[in-house]
Assembly symmetry: C2
Homo-oligomer: 294 residues x 2
């Protein structure tokens, strides 16, 4: 527990992760763009800094849990990475483009530091229950160093090798498959509903048999009732992720026709004023198309 | 066990079901278009008939497990249904259109017989392991009468009410969702592969966490290795089912954009000579599009 950790980004996911690390006995120096979000962590022993760079210990470890590519690129300036310096490790947990990870990793290596792609599959409540899963990719020694730390807040750690962008590819693929699961349930439940079958009964049958997995059971509840509040993952973030997926796929010349449909569902949802719903609301598109919504 | 049962159709699914019923002590009179397929069942005590109508007991029970709508409509002629007659029950297990089921049910009711839609979710090996699931819909009394019989060869029985077509809607929705699962894995694994990540490693991560359901674990193995032999469910049957899904959805004005993509995957697969592969081979489409297959 002697590692002093810089922790940058205290949103819905960052906050519970920081809390768990503090409870596990790590010394945390935390930073958030909106400083007021950091204050409650001082009760658990965190030190709050005003400038992200002041959180960095040379040769130490820094976690980042930020909104998007631009936020990570802006925060990890040359100056900050230079301070992190030789043997420093950046655990980059944001869902960003694999290409951004690869470029950032080069900058880190230039200064002797290591960039580890470390996106997490977990809603905030899954972090608190320690049932989430994390994908890691990047420098082997750096991954070994941080594994005991991340094991405090996830159930599974999956290693995807040396390419710092690989873990991001898996994260985007996983989110894409969740979005597809929402759409397919939306279409199937709507066909059932228009045949006089309750959405609840098809949901119960399929998610207790063929599709007895958490994704279908949990998101299926939303699709069965077509209720997308409260919000666990905001609708516009779904569009951000599917755009990253399609860009990543396009970069390697891999067409993804399902992803194209998902993207248009999100765009249409924004046109219909759904920006404040959970991203599961993409499944409303099938109901809209069938004339079931107003 | 006193019920004498007519059993029509001894294909990949019908045969193991008939075997289980014989082993459970039921008296079976069996018929198959290709009579040679029925012969082995005589060792288990089945009586083989040359004409389907000779298998029917007035007021008794008849199971049918046939290839498609046309086969069911042809076999269940007015003459045969009249012989089945008052209180007779037809357990119709084929994957056919809900509309065909509704029309057949009317003919049955005319003669005092009952038609129960009873499609099963099970590959042949799942029937033998008794881990499949069956959906029932139709006359309530008829369903009660046949439940103890079907419970010999499935794990779960799901009741979808009085509409004889409802169970078929669920079956089509389920097969549609399986096909979508194949396509989404095809797209996701291909994006990973073209980023230098092995299909096997993304398969293992996702199907042991978010997508830890039999459909993803079993079909995912095929998609990870892009190997679609041996055949459990023939490729052209996949096209038959998705065509039924799209027709059923169109009948109630419910657009299904994912189903449209799936349909074109099957059509393209036939154009590429894949008619003798398992229907999982629809996932090859994503690899084709990305230039990974020849």
């Amino acid at each position: 527990m002697s590692e002093k950790i810089a922790f940058l980004g205290l949103g819905n996911l960052g906050t519970p992760i920081a809390e768990i690390l503090l409870e596990a006995g790590y010394e945390l120096v935390v930073w958030n763009r909106t400083a007021s979000k950091a204050e409650p962590l001082t009760k658990l022993g965190a030190t709050v800094v005003e400038n992200a760079i002041d959180a960095i210990t040379p040769g130490g470890i820094v976690f980042s849990v930020l909104a998007d590519d631009a936020a990570v690129e802006e925060l990890f300036s040359m100056e900050l990475v230079e301070k992190l310096g030789k043997d420093g490790v950046h655990v980059s947990m944001s869902t960003i483009s694999p290409e951004t990870s690869r470029q950032l990793a080069q900058v880190h290596e230039w200064y002797g530091a290591h960039y580890v792609g470390a996106p997490i599959f977990a809603r905030p409540e899954a972090v608190r229950a320690k049932v989430g899963n994390i994908c890691l990719s990047g420098n082997a020694g750096a991954k070994e160093r941080i594994k005991p730390i991340v094991e405090n807040f996830v159930k599974g750690v999956f290693d995807f090798g040396d390419d710092p962008g690989a873990a991001n590819v898996i994260k985007l693929a996983g989110n894409f498959m969740i979005a597809c699961s929402l759409e397919m349930m939306g279409e199937a439940f709507t066909m059932a509903e228009k045949n006089g079958i309750s959405r609840q009964s098809i949901y119960e049958m399929l998610t207790s048999t063929l599709f007895a997995a958490p994704i279908f059971q949990n998101y299926g509840k939303l699709v069965a009732s077509n209720t997308y509040e409260p919000v666990a993952f905001r609708f516009p973030l779904g569009l951000k992720d599917i755009n990253l997926t399609l860009q990543t796929a396009s970069d390697v010349n891999a067409p993804m026709p399902f992803a194209d449909i998902i993207r248009n569902r999100f765009i249409s949802g924004l046109a219909k004023g759904r920006e404040n719903l959970d991203w599961g609301a993409l499944a409303l598109g099938a109901s809209d198309d069938a004339g079931l919504t107003k």
